[in-house]
Symmetry: C2
Subunit: 311 residues, 2 copies
């Protein structure tokens, strides 16, 4: 469970042996007035108060218009910078927090300034590259890693890992090891619905580390309920694999939210057992894929039930 | 649970709404002396006595040398005819029994005689076609179905369903419906290790029946522990899909039997929930893939634990 003390970023990663619980949020849109952003932050913290989280994740959402030829099911709204949202509105949150950085959006100078100034005892970051090779970027992911590695005092950094990429390439576990060698202290997965695909990646990564004499880093596994066909369509757009039978159940069900919720809870149980058996440090991260109230509330309930599974 | 009375073949299929439990055996080799075959039968029944089975399955094993270009990991031994083994040695078994018939081995006249003479109140049969198109056969599967359909008094027949075939063709559920239209009253799966592949097939079959206004037939799902690398190799030879992470676990484990046993039990629980949720009549069939004592004993223990899950 969450430590009594608020805990430092490094202590958070150490406690991943037992399994962490995180919750992922997206900042409000860029045009939100400061007072309204405070209200959003307060409402979020109030919802999460009873969940005993080990940490919060704040995403940095990019338009990713190059991701797919299909149009984005939910139109992209430019969002407040996650670091700004944390600094200006989330002062009520005193535990560790993982701030995403879509590095292509920032100049090297901006990134360096933020990485240097940030409270490295409490803030971790996940550096994310472009969604496609064709995206114009200000800083490339490899340059961001190099920049981070050269700093004297630096926050722990994480990398993204994607089980769906492993299905095709069979090399995502090697990519994780390379990121680790470039400085990654942990990983966060894309939303997982295909349990075998994510277990394949975790297994290949854990045994690769063992065979190479490396210490496996904590892998944070993301789960999110799906309350509507539009959310399911958005998941496809994001490249999330959903087993065919489950897609059918969600499509045919009168209550896809409950179906997907139950499946996420089952998957959480299976992943907790799997990581413990494998001796892989891990965490579960819960999020809502949309800002729909029913999905947000279901995600908070899911996090609360997963806390019980982790005990 | 098993009915107090021994039950008829038709009653067996009716009770599949709640989930049946079967156990699959292979007859002793053709060269076994009658006295020794009696001993084998008695030992089998003694082992199974405490399991509360609803029925027994007796396989009809063919060489299947056309199945794969790879050599068979366990050399093929011609086996006693399953119907002969039942008649001559298994008189101690009074509940329903499913006798497999590899129809290619028999002439139409032989098949007709057996189908006519068999105790159709207690014996069900599964008609199996050739493993490949190149195999020389005496009777083709479609002719066997036609022959069966023309009989006045006939045993319930089942067909084989293979989730692995569905992965490639996406049409195994339609093939099941065609077999059903040709007279199949139930289906028996190949050994299942890939839970999503079998759930994809069950889901597609159940919804196809619903959409076409047909009543779905019971599907008997086969599980078998795997106690050694050689058994795992045999499973590959048989075309059984094993998720990559599980193959790694079995390969790296000091105790693959326990690993695979635990996985079979987990899969049984998941399949029972899945079929019940889907409203699909079903059964679980447990077998040992080899005649190794530890695998046979594990399979009997597994059946006993699955009985608890079914209650």
């Amino acid at each position: 469970m969450a430590s009594g003390a608020d805990g430092s970023a490094l202590e958070l990663l150490r406690r991943a042996e037992d399994g962490l619980l995180l919750y992922g949020i997206t900042p409000p849109s860029l045009t939100t007035a400061p007072g309204r952003a405070d209200d959003v932050a307060q409402a979020t913290l109030a919802r999460l108060e009873s969940v005993e989280l080990d940490g919060l994740i704040i995403y940095d959402v990019d338009a990713e218009s190059d991701r797919s030829a299909e149009s984005r099911p939910f139109p992209f709204m430019p969002m407040m910078d996650p670091a700004d949202f944390l600094d200006r509105h989330l002062s009520g949150w005193t535990r560790p927090v993982v701030v995403y950085r879509a590095v292509g959006k920032y100049t090297e100078a901006d990134l360096r300034r933020w990485l240097t100034d940030v409270d490295a005892d409490r803030v971790l970051t996940v550096l994310v590259g472009a969604a496609s090779r064709h995206q114009a970027v200000q800083t490339r992911l490899t340059d961001a890693y190099r920049l981070h590695a050269g700093l004297d005092r630096r926050p722990p950094i994480g990398g993204v890992c994607i089980a769906e990429r492993h299905v095709g390439s069979g090399a995502e576990h090697r990519r994780m090891l390379s990121k680790q060698e470039a400085g990654c202290d942990f990983f966060v997965s894309q939303v997982c619905y295909d349990l075998d695909h994510i277990r394949d990646l975790l297994s290949d990564y854990a045994y690769l580390c063992r065979d190479e004499g490396m210490v496996a880093r904590p892998v944070i596994l993301t789960l999110a309920p799906c309350g509507s066909m539009k959310t399911l369509e958005f998941m496809s757009w994001l490249g999330i694999d959903v087993p065919r039978w489950l897609r059918t159940e969600l499509t045919r069900s009168r209550d896809p939210l409950t179906e997907s919720y139950d499946q996420c809870l089952t998957n959480a149980g299976a992943l907790i057992s799997f990581c413990r058996r494998l001796g892989l440090p891990f965490g579960i991260n819960v999020e809502s894929l949309t800002n729909r109230k029913v999905e947000i509330e279901a995600s908070v309930d899911l996090a609360r039930e997963i806390r019980e599974l982790l005990h």
